[in-house]
């Protein structure tokens, strides 16, 4: 049976941002063939960590199957290869995947799109990075596991990987660092400083359970978090969400957060491919079968591997929109709808939000409890709440 550890990249679980009511596993809307969708779409491919025979072929098949989710003429602007793609694709399979992507979809004619691939340091070789660059990826999402990093752990492999990425002009670096309560604070500081020096555009610190002990609070201590935050903010990085630092200028007020991380909100359709992948189509959410074998079996028989659809529209609820604003910008405009504001009375009383001019902003305590705040806010209108 597949476990969550098989899916590196599902750390952005956004139950709090996308309340859903599971319904039948069929498309909850019908295309008439006359729909047009001016906004671009994105493709997010989630690759399991466990090597799976036939995965590359399955993804190619699923790409063809998922075409029916797109409106006529809808273009693809972003491609995200998440999880562990290099465990599933060798060089020629990766080339074929991108080839099928380029020839199977209408690509948006723009330089704004993000084409990123998740890599661990062991796969950051000059040959792999040359191929990645040649296939027109513009970001590497470097995954680092520092969950048991002691004070004397070397950062050399991570530094080597980040430096090599920097040798390829136009290939940007985003970093996802897995930390636990066992991670040494000095190590995090050294790593963060090195990544900043390598022009890392985004650094996300993902809390995970300490591998060597069970239970208890697994977040790194507050003093360490504050020290790292200060280090980054002094270098020009700003905090998004509760653990993501970036020095990139985002898409104005159009930033959104999803299971694939922060993204440009102009993209309102996401095709999620692979086992356990999530997608958004016509404001409805779907999730593919989580079990890898079940996913492969469905695709092999030529059927959509979707396990569930959400019946509730996910993007247009004012409460969900407010949750997105708080999560992405730590602010709410003063003209937020009264019902949402009523739901924020308790967080305000707790000191999580404060008034700032004609808007509201999160305090440090609010940022610490951001996910709880957003979940409560987004679920307020959920019928199961």
């Amino acid at each position: 049976m597949t476990s969550i550890q098989d899916y590196q990249g599902l750390e952005h679980a956004v139950e709090f941002l996308t309340p859903r009511l599971a319904c039948a596993n069929h498309l909850p809307f019908v295309w008439t063939g006359r729909e047009t969708e001016p906004s671009p779409a994105g493709v997010s491919l989630l690759c399991p960590s466990r090597p799976c025979a036939g995965f590359a072929d399955a993804i190619t098949t699923e790409m063809s199957l998922k075409r029916e989710f797109l409106a006529a003429g809808q273009t693809i602007e972003s491609l995200l290869l998440r999880g562990d793609p290099m465990r599933q694709f060798n060089a020629e399979q990766l080339t074929e995947l991108v080839f099928r992507f380029c020839t199977g979809f209408d690509l948006a004619d723009t330089d704004l799109g993000c084409r990123s691939i998740a890599l661990t340091p062991e796969y950051c070789t000059r040959t792999n990075l040359a191929l990645v660059k040649g296939l027109a990826f513009n970001f590497v999402e470097l995954h680092l596991d520092a969950s048991i990093a002691g004070p004397d752990r070397s950062i050399a492999p991570m530094e080597r990987a980040a430096t090599l990425i920097g040798e390829f002009a136009g290939l940007g670096l985003h970093c996802r660092i897995r930390l636990s309560a066992d991670t040494d604070g000095g190590f995090i500081e050294r790593l963060t400083t090195t990544l900043m020096a390598c022009d890392c555009r985004e650094i996300e610190f993902i809390p995970s359970p300490p591998p060597l002990r069970r239970g208890g609070n697994y977040r790194i201590g507050r003093p360490v978090r504050q020290r790292i935050a200060r280090l980054l903010q002094e270098a020009g990085y700003r905090l998004r969400g509760d653990r993501d630092f970036t020095n990139e200028t985002g898409p104005g007020n159009g930033l959104r957060y999803g299971e694939w991380g922060f993204y440009d909100g102009r993209i309102q359709t996401w095709l999620g491919l692979g086992p356990a992948a999530t997608g958004i189509v016509r404001r409805h959410l779907y999730r593919n079968a989580r079990d890898i074998d079940a996913y492969l079996a469905k695709v092999k028989e030529g059927t959509q591997p979707v396990a569930e659809w959400s019946e509730a529209p996910v993007l247009s609820e004012p409460a969900c929109e407010a949750a997105q604003q708080l999560f992405c910008y730590h602010r709410l405009p003063g003209n937020t709808d009264p019902e949402t504001m009523a739901n924020l009375e308790k967080p305000m009383a707790r000191g999580w939000l404060r008034t700032e001019g004609d808007s509201y902003s999160l305090t440090d305590a609010g940022i610490d409890n951001l996910r709880t705040l957003c979940r409560d806010l987004a679920h307020r209108r959920h019928p199961l709440d």
Binding site: A91, C102, K133, E167, F168, A169
Partner: protein, 268 residues
Amino acid sequence: MPTDDIRWIDDRGRDNDYNPPELNPRGIIMEAKCPHSATTVNCNDCRMSALCLPMALQADEIDRLNRIVERGRPLQRNEYIYHAGEPFKSIYAVRSGAVKGFTVNDEGVEQVTGFYLPGEIFGMDGIGHPNHINSAVALETAAICEIPFSRLEELSTQIPSLQRHFFRLMSREITNDQQLITMLSKNSAEERIATLLTSISARNARRKLSGSRFRLPMSRADIGNYMGLTVETVSRVFSRFQKQDILSVDKKEIEILDLDRLRSMANT
């Protein structure tokens, strides 16, 4: 007139079994097995089959591939295989000679993007685009096999090993191009020239030719353009390599005297 049941011998000693040689468009007699000849070459007995698309195929699969390959007359020097902007329809394989790929920017300045030797596939810049991004021109008399891409795709669905090999070639081409671009941005003139020479050496060795003694099919100007160097710098580097006993150079004829040293300069 001689008939089949009478054995005859002409004044040149040629008998009934003699097959007259084909003539190329310039009236020059070509031997039937000449690589520039279009009429008798077959993927099965092509000298480049061990490098080219047939490499991964069984005999009957090679026959099926051979049926979709189009072979025209040999191209003369500076003759185009395709121009940038032309609709992408085919990929190409070099059977003999050499080909240069290049782009031309808005100011009309040419930028060489690659050199292709026998057994190598080119034209893949058009894949995923409606038109070719680069142009391709023969550097010397060249024989080219044209493989219509839609037919190759169709055949690949029936022959999985062909599909795998094709994407292997594509990924190698893409990787080599990017590694070259990266190398150009940071290496010295000597390191760049060393990289090019070791690359040509290795590609010749793959064709079971000498990796240490070969003829450069491209001009010094083309080498400079490709490497991001002036033609004077290219000539100076060649002279320096001669003085250091790394190379012996006689116009386009190259003999590598110290391949290990050249490789270490190229960081390979």
